[in-house]
């Protein structure tokens, strides 16, 4: 395990160095934006890594919840409810009622179908994990549960860091190009709200270190994930007057730029995975240490009780 980690870390370091060279030297300067465009080689891969980590956290949280009977029973209901929602959406959007706002590049029909697919996927995932767990037994062991929780907390932490990088580099680029630091555009706002939700997740974990926090924070992660589509939809139709970011449209992309971008995407994904990995190991070690401490103090308490229960000996000395 240690060897694999060092190997992975070496590759990541090499990729990051190569990516830096590609982004700053090899890639040509963009014609209209100038050198500031180079921030893209960090901004977009950071966003990608952050979203991947948040997704990891979501699935770990969901699987943590499958330990409870109630959720396993609910799997069918999730699929049915999602399908009902999706079908209702489909019926309504097929009619195109005048009160339903239409925006460019947004299809209500597509959105409804996505809702149905997501619901069915979740039900299958929960059922599948449940069935597989019964077959293998390993998936539901206490060790698996601890690892799931460690991955959940690590990915949330590392994801918040990458998301912060996104939220900082974005305005640095936007100021010279758009002329404003910030706009309540759908992507920006969704990222910000996602960041807020995950910060509140970390605060919740910080404020409680009892055993039940794993399941409590898992419920928060699932509710937070339910919130994201609402943020996305409501912002989409709320701030339509603001400039939409134009990327990759019009003009051809220099292959060297694409190369630099893809290298950085790979490098950041590896970097995120590596940091997350080492954080998971740290978390697991931390828990082992805590357990050892608890055991030691229990033993100490036993010894003290054994001594205290012999008052006659002490008084006679």
């Amino acid at each position: 395990m240690n060897k694999l980690f060092s190997f992975f870390a070496t590759i990541t370091a090499f990729l990051l160095v190569y990516g830096l060279y590609q982004a700053l030297v090899a890639a040509p300067t963009e014609r209209t934006m100038g050198d500031v465009q180079r921030i893209f080689y960090y901004h977009v891969p950071s966003a990608w890594t952050a979203f991947c980590l948040f997704l990891t956290n979501y699935f770990c949280s969901l699987l943590t919840l499958t330990y409870s009977e109630a959720i396993r029973r609910a799997a069918n209901r999730i699929a049915i409810l999602g399908a009902i929602f999706g079908l209702m959406g489909l019926l309504i959007s097929e009619d195109r009622p005048p009160w339903l706002p239409q925006a460019e590049g947004f299809s209500w029909v597509k959105a409804s179908i996505i809702v149905i697919l997501i619901a069915v996927f979740h039900a299958l995932l929960i059922k599948g994990y449940f069935l597989l767990g019964d077959r293998l037994g390993k998936l539901f062991s206490d060790r698996a549960r601890v690892i799931l929780d460690a991955v959940a907390v690590s990915s949330a932490e590392v994801g918040v860091v990458f998301c912060t990088v996104v939220l900082v580099t974005g305005p640095i680029w936007a100021r010279p190009v758009w002329g404003i630091w910030w706009t309540w555009d759908v992507r920006l706002t969704t990222t910000l709200v996602l960041w807020l939700i995950y910060v509140s997740y970390l605060v919740l974990r910080r404020f409680s270190n009892t055993g039940e926090i794993a399941i409590l924070s898992a419920t928060l992660a699932v509710i937070g994930a339910l919130d994201v589509p609402f943020v996305y939809f409501s912002i989409w139709f709320f701030r339509t007057q603001h400039p939409q970011p134009v990327m990759g449209k019009g003009g051809s992309l220099d292959p060297r730029m694409l190369h630099a971008f893809l290298i950085n995407l790979l490098a950041f994904s590896c970097f995120g995975a590596m940091v997350c990995w080492s954080r998971v190991r740290l978390e697991l070690l931390h828990r082992q240490l805590e357990e050892a401490h608890a055991m030691k103090s229990l033993e100490g308490a036993d010894a003290a009780r054994a001594q205290a229960s012999l008052p006659l000996n002490r008084s006679s000395e």
């Binding site: 959720i71 009160w99 939700i197 509710i223 609402f230 943020v231 939809f233």
Partner: protein, 225 residues
């Protein structure tokens, strides 16, 4: 075996009786939102046209902050004498308990809104240019959106240190789309620009989704170990 609804009703009655005798939450909420109204009107001093644009935001922010006062009390009062542990071991379904608590909070916040809305109208010289009756569904759906998540997160933050601070930290990020929908709907109705129907439907969807999610996950939170 008592039915689900009679259990809900019994808990709800108990909560209302407790509140009626002490009036802790209601008094605190009323005075708090009165202060918010007065402070906001000093800070902004708007004319009639401006106030139509900004009051929607102010009114809901005031209600949101005031609702937190009531929500914090919901579960905290059950900790005394280990009432919550009794709930845990009782065979009554956890969802009945949750529903009763959410309904209780809903009634308190609606009462608060009924008292505070006339004050807002007086202080900010409000007159709706759009269809004013639509404010009723917006009020009901918006309040339920705040209260159902609030009751859930109040139960969640019960296990943490300094839970009074924890509740708004958890509730506000999740409530952002709901707050935005109700503010936007109210602003459209007050200023008479366009139709608020989309926002009302969005609020309704939000309510249905989160009520289902909270009811489904509440048992886990109550029995978490």
């Amino acid at each position: 075996m008592t039915s689900f609804w009679s259990l809900t009703l019994a808990t709800l009655k108990k909560d209302i009786r407790l509140e009626w005798r002490s009036k802790d939450a209601l008094n605190a909420m009323l005075f708090f939102s009165l202060l918010v109204v007065v402070i906001f009107s000093f800070s902004f001093d708007p004319n009639a046209e401006e106030s139509r644009q900004i009051t929607a935001g102010l009114i809901w922010v005031a209600f949101l902050f005031a609702a937190v006062v009531a929500l914090n009390q919901t579960w905290a009062r059950e900790l005394r004498n280990q009432v919550l542990d009794a709930y845990r071991v009782s065979p009554a379904p956890a969802t009945a308990l949750f529903l009763a608590k959410a309904l209780g909070n809903f009634i308190f916040v609606i009462l608060l809104e009924a008292v505070m809305t006339p004050l807002f109208i007086v202080f900010y010289n409000l007159r709706a240019l759009g269809p004013a009756w639509q404010l009723i569904p917006v009020g009901i759906l918006g309040t339920w959106a705040l209260v159902v998540n609030g009751t859930f997160f109040a139960a969640l933050s019960l296990r943490t240190r300094s839970r009074e601070i924890m509740l708004p930290l958890l509730l506000f990020p999740i409530s952002i789309p709901a707050v935005q929908s109700m503010v936007e709907a109210t602003r459209i109705i007050l200023s008479g620009e366009g139709a608020a129907r989309f926002w009302i439907v969005l609020l309704l969807t939000y309510d249905v989704v989160f009520t289902t999610a909270c009811l489904g996950l509440f048992e886990i939170v109550l029995q978490a170990e």
